[in-house]
Structures are given as structure tokens and as C-alpha cells.
Symmetry: C2
Subunit: 122 residues, 2 copies
């Protein structure tokens, strides 16, 4: 499409934007050594199955890495954000911050039927 679509929000990466994954990445972003699966699950209020499913999406997108090891003879799964993941998460947050400010300005404008962006030249 050659027409402008100012509200398409293509910068909001779907791998990151989904609500549970946003929580997972925020949890991991402050933990350079990562988090064990059970802690991450509790922080995000997810079931085992849901967390596993979302981690697969994040792993495929290169945003997190999952390592399995043994701790006192018990298997342990540890999840960490990748360097690339941290960069893309910060880029996403910049876009989201602009979206929030734009949307809040639109939602607070009342009754003046603002001109439509991208329609000025039509």
C-alpha cells in the first residue's frame, strides 16, 4: 500500500507486544543472569504451559535464551534476555512511548473533530 497508514503501528513488534510476553521481558530485563523458570512464572502470574508457550515465541524471535542445567542434582531451567533482545525491547518501548502519548492526546481532545493525519493531501 502506498497510502499513509499513520495508525498501523508497525513498530510494535508482535513478538514483544503481547501482554504476557511484555511482562516476561520486563521481568528479565533487570536480571542479566536470568531467572529460573519457577520465579519467572510467579512474577508473571502464568501457568507452566502458558509460560512455555510464550518462551517458545520469544526464543524463536531471538529475544531470550533458555538453558537447562543441574542444581543440586535437580534439573533447572534458566531464562535470560539476549543482548539483541534487550536492544529490540528498548526500541519497542520507544515506539510504545510515542503511541501512548499520541493516543492520550487523541483521547483527551473533545468535540473538535481533529483533521485526519495523512489525509491533508487528499
Amino acid at each position: 500500500m502506498s497510502e499513509p497508514a499513520p495508525f498501523a503501528y508497525e513498530g510494535l513488534d508482535r513478538a514483544i507486544h503481547e501482554r504476557a510476553r511484555l511482562g516476561i521481558l520486563t521481568s528479565l530485563a533487570s536480571q542479566p543472569k536470568g531467572l529460573v523458570f519457577g520465579d519467572l512464572r510467579r512474577l508473571c502470574g502464568l501457568t507452566d504451559g502458558n509460560l512455555s508457550r510464550h518462551l517458545s515465541v520469544l526464543q524463536e524471535a531471538g529475544l531470550v535464551e533458555v538453558t537447562k542445567s543441574f542444581e543440586r542434582n535437580r534439573p533447572q531451567t534458566r531464562v535470560a534476555i539476549t543482548a539483541e533482545g534487550r536492544k529490540r525491547f528498548l526500541d519497542y518501548l520507544d515506539v510504545l512511548d510515542r503511541v501512548v502519548r499520541e493516543a492520550a492526546a487523541a483521547a483527551r481532545s473533545q468535540g473538535d473533530d481533529s483533521p485526519l493525519p495523512g489525509f491533508a493531501r487528499a
Copy 2:
């Protein structure tokens, strides 16, 4: 669950949070008289089918209303945000603003393995 889940982000209403619907609501928020279907489709960069599908979700959630009329003998579909929709959209944006600031602070913290919220009492 009685355990705290600080990153569950339950305030991020899924009906609003989905990327295309966020664009639709932002488009409509500044237009008290609503927008005709074709203009909304172009602003959001969506296909007819996708826009219809997302409008159904928004309509069922009580966030938008869709009216059909005739304009110069041609059928016209007009979409407007409801008063309830505007209120819930503003509430959502408040939550999202907090999420962005929290996530940006987490993503910018480096190497200090911040304490986990909600784990202090464990």
C-alpha cells in the same frame, strides 16, 4: 493465586491492547462524530476483512458503535468510539504509561541484578 504477580499486567485490557485495535481506537478517539469505514481502514493500514474482525471484538466489548446509513443513496458504515470506550481507553493508556516507564527502567538497568518485586517477603 494468592502470590503477587507484579508483571501479570492485568490492567492491559486485551480487547484494547492488540496492535490493530490500539490503532483503531487512537484513530477514533479524536473523532467524536466517528469515521467512515474506508477512512478508518486506510488510517490503520488494514484490509476490509481484518478491520471488520477487529470492529466485532471492539463492538462486543462495548468500546465502539457501528451505524449503517445511506449517503447519496449509497450505504455508508460509520464507526465511533463510545463514551464508555473513551473512558476505558484512557484507563488503559494510564496503565500502559506505567508499564512503559517500569519496563524502560528495567531494560536500562545493567548488571546489578535488581531484587525481584514481590519476593522480598519470601
